[in-house]
Amino acid sequence: MGVITDNLPGVLEPLPGGSVLVTAVDQLINWSRANSLWPLTFGTSCCAIEVMMATGAARHDLARFGAEVARPSPRQADLLVIAGTIVKRMAPRLRTLYEQMAEPRYVMATGSCAICGGPFMYHSYTTVRGADEIIPVDVYVPGCPPRPEAFFYGLLTLQKMIKEGESIRHPGERRRPVLAALPEGMTLDDIRKEMQDLLSHDANVTMTDAVAAGAHYAADLKDF
């Protein structure tokens, strides 16, 4: 991924204190990547209205997180938000879009259609049951469609994930997918309170909670 990130660890690591320096540079890079997630203007169905339009619009304002620079060209985008159902005919195009994006690239699957096929899971002869059958997904945001707040939760989770990664030592290594689902038993007031907490402390999403919530969710599905 460029001369700097390829050679930097080799040059710096042997030096005294080089390891600290590498970590510092790593943090800087991660910080910049996490705070500058330019999404691709891409939406297939209902979720596009909620997670691409309503989030970007005046009330929710994606710009607060530096992510409002929606690029129409995949080359310049960092974040592919799969907003909506993916059908067989679209699948190769989605793959192409993903391949066209420049590294590092992140993928969020929003809505139940992009996660598992959602309401079109059974008896549909074209719906792909989950976008992760086609491209790797970093964060799942459940909902049908997810509320803009849920999308922000997913975005903050992704930021957290990027900040915890090691961009220089292990470039391109993917963290395991994260389900940005809310833990069970939460009420709307809890969500609002947590959102306010999150917004007051820069993206303090605890990853473990989200993963635990994911396990919870999976267990729920089994019962279902």
Partner: protein, 386 residues
């Protein structure tokens, strides 16, 4: 067999039909499936001569999920939530269309209150849909600010829906035999506050976009569709009315409480992009009128006549009913064999027919015009592909 079947490849590698006096080279360009102004995953194959569009070949199916097939495998209530995801910007009208055909076929009674609530929420959603269209229309023409203004005001309606229905986009609210919940106690107050809020905003919209000289230049005389052609091409809704045909099911075959309210059907004269723009802006005002007449007189009564778990059976035969969504006529054709699941259910969606006009409109225009026309038709792609 004499009938031959063609392929897309054969279709777009045809001979050049343009009679350009300059021997310029025509070329094909793919617009979509991922393109900012195709509003989803519509793909248009354009044959261009420089900037001039010679031919538009729409390629559909990038979001075809087979809703009609799925409908045959579930009962009527399960089909209602699927149609939410067709034209998600008028999800309530979609719910109502299915509900209407089922109620008519199964001879279910409804109360005045149910009809009033349905009419009100559908008109609110018409405003919501047109506000979103207005914002996106501005953005497609290159001005970003309308998008934010339109969506800012749309959020207010989302709040009203959230209180009563609990959803912002896909509602699943209007059910065969009633509505899911009664309206929220603050519904009437909220709607009135919103209408008072929206009226001055409409003036602001006019100042920002309608009166702009660039908009007028870009829209007037572009994408003309005569009344006869519009009908022949199957266009309905604002597209048809902009061509001067006052065909509105709310007037001609009133359903809900539309027969009790007084409103005008705005019609255009030329059928160009400007008329389509104007008709939609005027429809927002008419919807405000309708809501104002109904909001104070919501009759008392039950809000559902059939328990949600009750099994609905429809007598065998063909049943059809249709209504006017924000985009045109949505019809549901139901073929029943007397069982709980429909034997065949077919949706006549407005966008499918309206999009067909683009081939006729866009030929000979510029790429910039094509974007304006697409936007003035106001397509929702999942509604086309179903």
């Amino acid at each position: 067999m004499s009938v031959t079947v063609s392929t897309l490849q054969a279709r777009i590698s045809g001979e050049s039909t343009a009679g350009s006096p300059l021997s310029t080279e025509e070329y094909f360009v793919n617009m979509g499936p991922q393109h900012p102004s195709t509003h989803g995953v519509l793909r248009l194959v354009l044959r261009l001569d420089g900037e001039t569009v010679r031919e538009v070949v729409p390629v559909l199916g990038y979001i075809h999920r087979g809703i009609e097939k799925m409908g045959e495998h579930g009962n009527y209530r399960q089909f209602v939530h699927l149609v939410d995801r067709m034209d998600y910007l008028s999800a309530l009208a979609n719910n109502w269309a299915v509900t209407m055909v089922v109620e008519k076929a199964a001879k279910m009674e409804t109360t005045e209150r149910i009809q009033a609530i349905r009419t009100l929420v559908c008109e609110l959603q018409r405003i919501q849909s047109h506000l979103l269209w207005w914002g996106v229309f501005g953005m497609d023409l290159g001005g970003f600010t309308p998008f934010f203004y339109g969506l800012r005001d749309r959020e207010q309606i989302c709040d009203i829906f959230e209180k009563t229905i609990g959803a912002r986009l896909t509602m699943n609210y209007i059910q065969p035999g009633g509505v899911m919940f009664d309206i929220h106690p603050e519904f009437v107050k909220d709607v009135k506050a919103f209408l008072n809020y929206l009226k001055p905003k409409l003036v602001e919209y006019d100042a920002l976009l309608t009166g702009n000289v660039i908009i007028q230049e870009r829209l007037r005389g572009i994408g003309k569709l005569s009344a006869a052609r519009a009908i022949a091409l199957g266009a309905t809704g604002p597209v048809l009315r902009a061509s001067g045909v006052a065909h509105d099911l709310r007037k001609s075959e009133p359903y809900g409480l539309y027969s009790q309210v007084d409103f005008d059907v705005p019609v255009g004269t030329d059928g160009d992009c400007w008329d389509r723009y104007w008709v939609r802006m005027e429809e927002i005002r008419q919807s405000i009128r309708i809501i104002e007449q109904l909001i104070d007189n919501i009759p008392e009564g039950k809000t559902f006549m059939v328990k949600p778990a009750a099994k609905i059976k429809v007598p065998a035969g063909i049943h059809y009913s249709h209504l006017e969504t924000a985009r045109g006529i949505l019809g549901v054709l139901l073929v029943s064999d007397g069982k709980e699941a429909p034997y065949r259910i077919h949706c006549r969606t407005p966008n499918f027919n309206n999009l067909w006009c683009i081939g006729e409109m866009a030929t000979g225009g510029r790429i910039g015009d094509l974007v304006a026309m697409l936007s003035s038709i106001d397509i929702v792609v999942p509604d086309i592909d179903r």
